[in-house]
Symmetry: C2
Subunit: 304 residues, 2 copies
Amino acid sequence: MFTIGIDIGGSNIKFVLLRIENGKKIKILQKKRIPTPEKKSEIIEVLKREIKNFISEKKNPKIEGIGIAIASPLNKKGDLILDPPNLPCLKNCRLAEILKKDFKNIPIVSENDVNCFTLAEALIGAGQKAKTIFGITLGSGIGGGIVVNGKIYRGAFGGAGEVGHTIIKFDGPKCKCGNFGCLEEYCSIRFFRRKKTTPRLLEKRIRKRDKNALEIFKEYGKNLGIGLSNVINLLDPEMIIIGGGISKAYKFFLTETKKEIQKRVVSPLSKKNVKIKVSRLKDFTGAVGAALLVNPKFQIPNSK
Amino acid sequence: MFTIGIDIGGSNIKFVLLRIENGKKIKILQKKRIPTPEKKSEIIEVLKREIKNFISEKKNPKIEGIGIAIASPLNKKGDLILDPPNLPCLKNCRLAEILKKDFKNIPIVSENDVNCFTLAEALIGAGQKAKTIFGITLGSGIGGGIVVNGKIYRGAFGGAGEVGHTIIKFDGPKCKCGNFGCLEEYCSIRFFRRKKTTPRLLEKRIRKRDKNALEIFKEYGKNLGIGLSNVINLLDPEMIIIGGGISKAYKFFLTETKKEIQKRVVSPLSKKNVKIKVSRLKDFTGAVGAALLVNPKFQIPNSK
């Protein structure tokens, strides 16, 4: 069983070729990364070309599905890309349908990238033992995804999991979305920019025993704890999995995040039991999740 | 099929006797309201006495279940009352188990009161056509409940739906729970108290064409819109049902709530399609929901 996973980001398009063995184990056979072109037609050209390359390579057997992850809300069916903030050229695009014209016999699905991230973590990452998982990615933006019993929960209209635009201070700084006080202003890379620094620079300063640098990370961790307390008070997931570039610095902020959760979550059982984990999977997680999504034969460990 | 529903509140205990006809229609046969005693032993005495009265009345046939609603987080199984803010004497009480000693042959279940409210709305109220419903009650506190396909969603540890303690301004006023900036400070009766007024007084002032009174309601509606935007961005329910005493004044604030939701929800499909309704059911909704919960024979219209 071979499937292709594609993750279309603002700067790169990532490709993986996946083999699923006995419906259980997965193996990544090939990886590729290509800069994202600016125009819609160019993006579609790149996708077609790379898919054709995968298919035509002699050593590759029949491809049985293509999954596409994209940083955008989609409709519930997952076939319409609604409004991707970092890829405006793909607004209202039915990308899977367009590609199907060239690859008629291969099932193609599209899905929000953080939903794919959370699915990958649930099926083959940190979340393999949990039934309800909230995934959150911390990077240039903040994304969220919900997986229940090994399946993505999309909500009534496909809009669930948008934790980046939950409000933690309604009169706070203006967000890219035009509103004020979104979590994204407090936990994306923009938090560090307002402090005129980056997570990497802060880490360097901490190694030089700069206490102020650690304080900035602590403030970041507290903000994240506020945002995740809202998630826990509403959804009460069994596990939260943190991914994205900023999560690599977790040892400097996660203690503060957990403290804030202990303070702010109402149910004593929820705050005692909820597990906060950092993503185990390396890069390409979104593409892997998309490849798993298209593969209905993959045996979901938690859905039995 | 006859069941008893009980709603234990900080000021009153409400009782209903319910008949379910053909597993579909419900009829409320009796209602009763008794002031809540202060001590745990007294509450248990009142419950036992009233249940016995229902059972022993000649015209009443066999009671087949008792459902108890209470304003508290419970464990996931629903048999342990964890920490009721307005009924501290029932902290860590296994109330259903205690009552079972006296009523051995009758199934008894307990459940969070707003979960019961939302279930009643989903099954026989405003939410009969919706598959995912978020219920919120606006009163001396703020409660929330989630019903998916006609069943209460409790979360991994029974703590889901606690919208009152989601944070909308982390440096806002101090909440009863000890934290700062909870939605409860902005949308419970405490909002009006800080303005040295009540919803009723405001309504009187509005009738006298006092524009400032309307402005206070508008501010309230905006706050509620922020809290509900967080719910929609995370959960994407098909419908939100608003209940509780303050909801009776909805015509003065709900337009502002909807405006805020249009501004703050990310997914264009979610904000276009989500329905915001006001509870159709009158008083005793929590007790009715509890009575429905204990009755597995009630045919859930949305779960097919």
